[in-house]
């Protein structure tokens, strides 16, 4: 499948998924209560999935090569930015500090 076609198919397929998830309890199974195990699981979805998205982008540089050492500028930048996010809860500060550290390290290493 070529890339542009795949992208358009994805747009509609994922669009259907997000809309169905939003509609779920409001319209589709409006009469039903959420099963307790599902409710428990959903509580942990944000932390688990955000971690699973962020970590590979930071420790596999380039893709497939694990770099857990401080010579990996993306890892250092993410650790500093994570600390800033934890303290300030500000998205803008997190992005500014994270990109700043990354650029600084890249510039120092040359």
């Amino acid at each position: 499948m070529d890339r542009p076609l795949a992208i358009w198919l994805l747009i509609f397929a994922v669009g259907a998924i997000t809309f169905t998830a939003r509609l779920s309890f409001i319209a589709l199974f409006a009469r039903r209560r959420m099963p307790p195990l599902l409710a428990e699981a959903l509580k942990h979805v944000p932390v688990a999935m955000l971690t699973a998205i962020v970590v590979p982008a930071v420790v596999f540089v380039p893709a497939g090569v694990l770099r857990l050492d401080l010579g990996n500028p993306k890892l250092v930048a993410a650790l500093v930015a994570g600390a800033v996010a934890w303290w300030t809860k500000s998205a803008v500060s997190t992005i500014v500090v994270g990109m700043g550290v990354l650029w600084l390290l890249r510039w120092l290493v040359g």
Partner: protein, 233 residues
Amino acid sequence: MRAHFSREGFLEGVRDIAPMMLGMVPFGMVCGLGAVAAGASPLAALAMSMIMFSGAAQIVATQMLVAGAPFGVILLSCLVVSLRLLMYSAAMAPYLRPLDHRWRNLLSFLLTDQAFARTIQRFRRSADLRFNASYFLGSGTLTWVSWQLSAVLGIVAGRIIPVSWDLEFVVPLCFLAVLAPVLRDRVSVLVCIVATAAVIALDAMPLRLSMVCGGLLGIAAGILGDKLKGGHG
């Protein structure tokens, strides 16, 4: 449709959510930028933002496409990151049940982290359904419009800014900005540690399944952690 519309409700919804829009702009930009970087035309990148209307799903879809994941795995991953919307849907359902289906469909489409956070408080405080539904419509509409404007900014930026600036690193930073502040109790930290270890250990899995599996293992650890905590009082 008209029957439920309250102009004051709509405008108050718009006003109340406006301050949250600024924090959304970088994320919306990153989504537009990421789509262009994944090979989407500017039109497709905007359509993605308009139709999927979910930062997490948009980012996961584009990143996995670039990583060469098969279609089915991309859909599965998007489904898992969209699970939190079920939570919002269930919380909103009792309040929206009396509305007719057109209102419910429209408000469901506009259900986002931001609109949920703002609107649920209003529904809990007051029983004026007509006003509340319009309030939701106002905050949801402003969120949707702001999201598209930020996507356009990102699409434009993606065509101007050189690749050597590593701008795609803004994507994990955006997620980090949401993730780090919620790591304030032991179970959340446990979920984060297990998901980190799992996603690293499973990286060699075929079809780029490591993300979904790492996430699911993290969720399982969370359920287990809650049980243990409950057991000890």
